[in-house]
């Protein structure tokens, strides 16, 4: 098996190398890099041409009469890039991705752009997988229901959506109009009514049940929204949002109980107590770590606490889980992670007025962060990044959301018809176990491959979205590089995205073999 994986990995690297040769040749020959200077009437043009030829590594070293053939330029570029694999800088040479037409250092640019793009793509992928798989399961479980039909249509819509168009709409309505509204954030009566009506229709279709139960759910939802929204308006929630200890406590307990019901069943007391213990610890740690978290100067303290949470959760599940160790660990881990998420959300909410005071229009339409933000608080800067990140992530998520939902739905429907599902039902296994253990696990195995493929597509989508939102990252590097006939930045983007795709394929292959023992050849 290991041999197979390494063979495949090696082949993909070979493909990456081949792709780099071909695309270098294509980019170099796609136009004349000195075009604008040749047509220029500037007296200085000749000197500028010389300068640019030097930066593009165009000239032969001993004469300025002839240009360097493309394969020699490729070789120079390749030795520079391969230097990145050489930590000592002696065997191959220093790490060098070349320079742009304007003399910019591509090595620094790609390092910066890669971080920004990777953050965007990773978060979008994760969210799309979680939401898409959940929607897909509910759709499959309620096949041919209103929910199924409307979700199928919505997913078709997302699938057919031109990404740049959606990004411009999001920019206009969710950024500019939202900022206008934030100047004086108040819910009007018609808004409340429309939102309440919408929730009263949507929530019952998701929850399902008999017509009577649906009507009851809808009515409760309507009344709930009609009371909560004016209340939030009254306490100025949009300017000073807080969750508060009470909400966090209720949410943590609800998470523990909910995950127990979902994963192990309420009759399994050991698991339930483990989950509740984690919830209690979560509430306690929320109160205890408040000052520590507020004083954070970087991501080190939040990330460290999160890691500690995971360790504690696993330990509780392992030690007190008894015979249901695995289920208990799953419950404690999920409860702990989501409770941490809620606590983090509360911290960000606490920071929101601080951000508004330095940035009255909270979502800028250009850039990945706000330049000259007059704040030195870590939380404000971090929240500023988040507020810039969330719209591009939302837009990126839409297309892959459609992929995952459609895939999960059809895969679940296929698995549900298998013989072993009928056997499981026949021997009296509860519906929850049938869906989660027998159907879901087997339906999810090929997802690993899908993620690897989807990731390569998403990186392409990132180029568009970053362009629309004016992020100074890979999209800009690629597009300006290609229009300037400038191979270094274009190649940097290609190698970076290709390397990511190769690594993801590698991980997918290994995961696939772990999940499905049949394919171990």
């Amino acid at each position: 098996m290991l041999k197979f994986i390494f063979k495949r990995f090696g082949r993909l690297f070979l493909v990456l190398f081949g792709a780099s040769v071909v695309s270098y040749a294509l980019v170099v020959h796609s136009g004349d890099p000195l075009q604008d200077l040749r047509e220029s009437t500037d007296a200085d043009a000749e000197y500028q041409m010389e300068l640019r030829a030097q930066q593009l590594n165009l000239e032969l070293p001993w004469t300025d009469q002839y240009y360097l053939p493309w394969y020699e330029r490729y070789w120079d570029w390749l030795t520079g890039v391969l230097g990145c694999l050489d930590p000592t800088d002696r065997v191959i040479g220093p790490c060098d991705w070349g320079t742009t037409v304007n003399g910019g250092d591509v090595t620094a640019q790609i390092a910066n752009a890669a971080e920004v793009s990777l953050r965007l793509v990773l978060i979008a992928t994760l969210l799309a997988i979680v939401l898409g798989v959940l929607t897909g399961i509910v759709s499959a479980m309620r096949q041919y229901s209103v929910f199924d039909y409307s979700m199928s249509f919505v997913m078709f819509l997302f699938w057919s959506l031109p990404l740049f168009w959606a990004a411009v709409i999001a920019k206009e309505y969710l950024a500019i109009r939202y900022n206008n509204w934030m100047a004086d954030p108040h819910f009007t009566a018609p808004t409340i009514f429309v939102v309440a009506l919408l929730l009263a229709v949507v929530v019952p279709t998701v929850l399902g049940g008999s017509p009577r139960r649906r009507i009851a759910t809808g009515a409760v939802m309507f009344i709930y929204t009609c009371t909560v929204m004016p209340f939030l308006d009254h306490i100025h929630f949009m300017e000073q949002p807080r969750l508060g200890t009470g909400f966090i406590a209720v949410a943590a307990v609800a998470l523990a109980v909910g995950f127990t019901a979902l994963i192990a069943g309420m009759q399994n007391r050991k698991v339930l107590y483990c989950g509740l213990a984690v919830a209690a610890l979560g509430i306690l740690s929320y109160l205890l770590t408040w000052d520590l978290m507020r004083g954070a100067q970087g991501y080190l303290i939040p990330m460290g606490l999160f890691a500690l949470t995971i360790v504690i959760c696993v330990a509780i599940g392992r030690i007190f889980g008894g015979y249901a160790k695995g289920q208990a660990t799953a419950v404690t881990l999920l409860t702990g992670m989501l409770t941490s998420g809620i606590i983090l959300l509360d911290h960000y909410m606490y920071t929101w007025p601080g951000l508004l005071s330095v940035k009255p229009r909270p979502i800028r339409t250009v850039g990945a962060s706000t330049p000259n933000l007059r704040a030195d608080d870590f939380w404000v800067i971090s929240l500023d990044h988040l507020s810039q990140l969330w719209l591009p992530t939302l837009v990126m998520m839409l297309t892959s959301l459609a992929t995952y939902t459609r895939y999960t739905r059809s895969s679940m429907l296929e698995v549900v018809q298998q013989d072993y599902i009928r056997t499981a039902r026949a021997k009296g296994v509860t519906e929850r176990t049938v869906v989660l253990k027998h159907a879901f696990r087997n339906a999810m195995i090929p997802l690993a491959t899908l993620v690897a493929f989807d990731f390569a597509g998403l990186v392409g989508g990132a180029i568009i979205v970053e362009r629309v939102f004016g992020w100074n990252s890979m999209g800009t590097m690629f597009i300006t590089g290609l229009t300037n006939v400038d191979p270094a930045p274009v190649m940097a983007v290609i190698i970076f995205t290709g390397g990511i795709a190769v690594i993801f394929n590698f991980i997918a292959d290994i995961l696939y073999a772990v999940l499905d023992p049949r394919i171990r050849v």
Binding site: R11, L14, L26, F156, S160, P162, V168, G208, G457, R467
Partner: protein, 367 residues
Amino acid sequence: MSNEQTPDSDLEQQMVDLAEVEDAKLTADHKSYSQNQLIRRRFFSHVPAMVSLVVLSIITVLAFTSVGYGIIPGWWQHPFRLPQGAQLVNDGQPTMFQDGQIVGPHPFGQDGLPRDIFARVMRGTQQSLIIGAVVALVSSVIGILVGAIAGYFRGKIESVLMTLTDFVIVVPLLVIAAILGSYVSDMPFAPFPLAIALGLALWTGMARLVRAEVLSLREKEYVSAAIAMGASPWRIILKHMLPNAIGVIIVNASFTVAAVILLESVLSYLGMGIQAPEVSLGMLVSQGESAINTRPHLFWIPGIFILTITLCVNFIGDGLRDAFDPRQQRKGDRRPGLRQILGLRGFAMSQQRRAGTESGSTDKDQE
């Protein structure tokens, strides 16, 4: 068992009657159909696909007849380029359903120059449709060829060809398309060079699918029989394998059309696809983007056209897949009508039936 009391002859008579009734029912219900008829019936009963087919036909006919194509003139009076002495009507806002007129002189409004947006959108739609069709054709031909050769001959040829298809995993499609697009941007006969370039980049998906299909068809008895009778490889591929793989090919080609229309609009939006003075829907969106507040129609209308076309093509592809691949249809769990979906009719009955047959969602609902 009440039948035990009845005399034997009566019972026999009853049985015969029953059998006759059953026979009559069978002959009435189950007319026999050929494979192609079955596929056609399944496709024509797929409602979203049918609706999409109608909408797409209307859009196609409208796009090609209104502004005309090539030397053939259309019935729409305004050209898609700026005519001499053009007048700004209604401040460039759409005249559709305004002042009691249904269409008006400029139904989709005008831009700042002022050019007629209806004519421009129709021209852009033409380009999108042409590119979709040409790319699907080119990429399908290359993909079928590569896939069939790789799957049939195996060995070294296969590993070389399949390594080529891995390019698409490693390099994002948009990057390949943009690089190839920059080559053909200055060529004449506007959408065709771009379409062929995109076709050269997009064949890998088809090649993978055809190869997988050919690999499984290789093991069939009729292929062995053909080999035994001395048929040449080409004859086997063309006469025996491709007709049996036609479902996969058609379905994938239809999804390619939608993907390509989106890809072209992205490229044109970024300024790397179709160049002015030609028009494309992506280019129209990028031109209208800055005027989203003053003249929203410049931004919304081309985008809605892109969305409608791709949505229709995707639905048609979905219908074709359902038609060609009956495994996708669930047995015993019939698609309910609209009233059942809305819970207005037979809800309790369907719940009972589902609880009886597969105990699907009802148990979960009761939990």
